[in-house]
Symmetry: C2
Amino acid sequence: MTAARGERVRIVEVGPRDGLQNESRPVPTDRKIAFIRALAAAGLREIEAASFVHPKAVPQLADAADVLRGLDDLPEVRISALVPNERGLDRALAAGVRRIAVFTAASETFVQRNIGMSIEASLQTFRAVLRRAVDAGVTARGYVSTAFVCPYEGEVAPADVALVTERLLELGCDEVAISDTIGVAAPTDVTRVCAPLLRTIAPGRIALHLHDTCGTALANVVRGLDLGIRTFDASAGGLGGCPFAPGAAGNLATEDLVYLLDRMGFDHGVRLAAVLEAAALIADVLDRAPTSRQWRRLRGPGCGAA
Amino acid sequence: MTAARGERVRIVEVGPRDGLQNESRPVPTDRKIAFIRALAAAGLREIEAASFVHPKAVPQLADAADVLRGLDDLPEVRISALVPNERGLDRALAAGVRRIAVFTAASETFVQRNIGMSIEASLQTFRAVLRRAVDAGVTARGYVSTAFVCPYEGEVAPADVALVTERLLELGCDEVAISDTIGVAAPTDVTRVCAPLLRTIAPGRIALHLHDTCGTALANVVRGLDLGIRTFDASAGGLGGCPFAPGAAGNLATEDLVYLLDRMGFDHGVRLAAVLEAAALIADVLDRAPTSRQWRRLRGPGCGAA
């Protein structure tokens, strides 16, 4: 059960998109760009930077094209953007996006309330989006939200997660992020849902996207590592939450994930202190301290003495 | 690696002692008693309630005998008290204590700074304490502090932990709490230190005592469960810290541990909502919100809507 030292883990930074989309306070475009550039400077090589949802639906992310323009000179970083439909893809392609993400869920009620359609309708939408993306040489990841527990339907059946995951891969996604949207899963849930998936899907095509409402996210990462998963989403400063998921806290904080992986001896290329610098930049704009343990430990009140 | 549903786990509540000993604000005796009674009402059956260290060393706990007197009518709860030496044992026995705890560490520098003697000297002290305790029909647990990482010496050798643990068991302790005093261990540390221990010591004699500075405590609990450990210390509201360990945060919060164990299907007899009630009592006295995830989730700002 102990992971091998020196093995490579990918961290996918989702703070600029999954984190900021839930902020009521508007973040100026140049501050978003500075945040993302700081994340890149910390060693993050995959950053979900924007969302091409309808500007009226998520006004905080209406400046997606401008954000991407400000990141043009970072060829070493794989920048991605969420795309909900063909109209969003048009905007994303016009902005020069090289990687997109599509978002659905494993529970009908959640998808209905979140994006206003059925799971099947969302997959039909993505069929056209992903075909055009692939034709344009654009790669794609998929999100399966509420993969463990749905705030409306309760515990989600692993077979439902497997079905949606396989469909997303068939449609052209190269990886699928299995998401604990409301942050309530325990390692037993990770095993229950992911072990069946990994019987037919290579672990390299599965990511874990964990929120940290119950403080179980790191325990779930470790169970994912035990199962062979090597890709984890995280959000600098623990940004995030979900307006469609009552009580949900932010994403697993990137700096907390980095601490764990460092201590366990995994290789990931991200520097903890520099992630805290990036978190400080966005905390300043939001006028709110990051929620992470590493922030409290290294930058919180009383720190600096020893 | 998935634990069996319905298996029994013991939670040892240490908030009234390990938590309160680090509080600068004095807590009135009747409020301590009310806190401990609320913990008992939540289903906790093992509570470290007091410390018979010299009243001048830890004035917050100088009322130990009065606290224990206020818990006389709780026969179903195993109340324990920390005892540093024979003088403390005299006071503990006079107060009618039925279970004591003794405290040393696996790193010399830490023991020296914390209790002002060497590890060997602490064990010699406990030899007399534990002989007299056993003669009086009093049971004992031991703490091995800094069992993973020492704030002064860095990573601690598993052999050093094993040596001290075995000595404490030989001297009469019926269990030893392997302690991540500064809350920096990862599951790989738990395996590194505990797997060798468990080759010669029954898992029923090993407890994990985890602080949550880095948010890794629940991940470490899960690794402990994987290794067969079934006893975990925790502190309602995440009380605690360590004045001898710079930057250390509180103990793993009892309510966060309860959430994890509930979700994983373990049987422990503790009700989460009632632990939050107890945490609320002591938070009121300390004028500081609990640090736990479950507090933020269920009682924090913005809660109550849905």
